[in-house]
Symmetry: C2
Subunit: 189 residues, 2 copies
DNA sequence: GAAAATTTGGGACATTTGTCCCGTATCTGC
DNA sequence: GCAGATACGGGACAAATGTCCCAAATTTTC
């Protein structure tokens, strides 16, 4: 549900202790509901979450939103854009208040080339995201909503997270009205 | 629609001409409808398509299939499993007859570490796939099927590809019955 | 603390989609 | 050529979903 990849925190701590330039990696804080990355806009930085939770979503032209993932400790933001040298493909905003490493895009690319552990960790992170994204797309299409919702609620309960209905429906890709109906039906059972 | 990444063919040609061991990289042919990778099964190899088209899909436990992508020239198969060291997350089978490079998993991982151009190309390929997969999931959830279908048909026409209805419906994540209805409606317009 | 904005909940209706089912056409292997 | 598998097409019904709407509760902002 909320992705984590704490290995990046270890790697970055090491990179910093070994004397990475201050201009290239700095620490930054965001209050809730602030945009860290914007869709269709060029990015200057890659972020790594130290603490807090971020929400990565796509805003479609018809005004709807699809939540790709919730990002926790150690997750990277903006790496796709940096690697492909393209404009932002998604929005990222803080759900809770957020403490992040802010890394210059050029420095990120340099780290990728020069730091084998960092490179390996990015490869693994992207492979994992790809697998998760693909499996989620498949489940979302191929199973009933009530099944997907019940799975989601279980996880939320386990992780003791509370989401707004809007985020819930955005994650499931349905309207709030449908979500309410499903919840009413599930509650009755 | 059909992904391509011809740079891998150049890189592999170079790797081979510089004397890669025969056991590690070989060329193999498949007739249509043969499985190259199986879900939940451990993989021994990574493949790169030299020519032909492959179909990558997830088979869910309820018997349905979701087509992730169609893979053409230069596309890699099995890299996620190799990088994560996990069992297959999807099936891949040949749609047309297929000519591929078969690469030992360990050799693939070694190339990733030692060949900077190869590493960079894999990073870009995964970033692109991630972006595509995410955007497709979003569109699939947030737009009407008739819109998604019309977009898909345009592309198929442009690329002059003919799919079976089953593949079309598998790609859209809907039943064949729904597809037929949509096609009938679209034809009437 | 009051006004504004957001979140929540749900009724009513039309539309979309899946499921089940049956029949025909087409391809494939022997 | 023929049997069996696979692809294709669509009727009928039930279930799921979106859209539009209104109203209460809650949060945010000044």
């Amino acid at each position: 549900m909320i992705r984590k990849s704490p290995i990046f925190l270890q790697i970055l701590d090491k990179v910093i202790s070994e004397g990475a330039p201050r201009e290239s990696i700095s620490i930054q804080e965001f209050p809730p509901k602030k945009r860290l990355l914007e869709q269709d806009r060029n990015t200057r930085n890659v972020f790594v979450i130290r603490s807090g939770i971020g929400k990565c979503f796509i805003a479609e032209e018809n005004g709807k939103e699809y939540i790709l993932e919730f990002l926790g400790e150690g997750e990277i933001l903006g790496e796709i854009e940096a690697i492909r040298r393209t404009a932002g493909m998604a929005m990222v905003e803080s759900l809770t208040s957020l403490c992040v490493f802010k890394i210059e895009k050029t420095y990120f690319l340099q780290l990728l080339k020069t730091d084998a552990a960092f490179n390996q960790a990015v490869l693994e992170l992207m492979a994992t995201r790809l697998a998760n994204t693909a499996m989620r797309a498949s489940r979302q299409q191929l199973y009933t909503l009530s099944y997907n919702l019940s799975q989601l609620l279980k996880i939320l309960q386990q992780e003791k997270i509370v989401f707004t209905k809007k985020d819930l429906s955005g994650y499931l890709g349905i309207s709030i009205r449908s979500l309410n109906r499903l919840l009413a039906a599930a509650g009755g059972v």
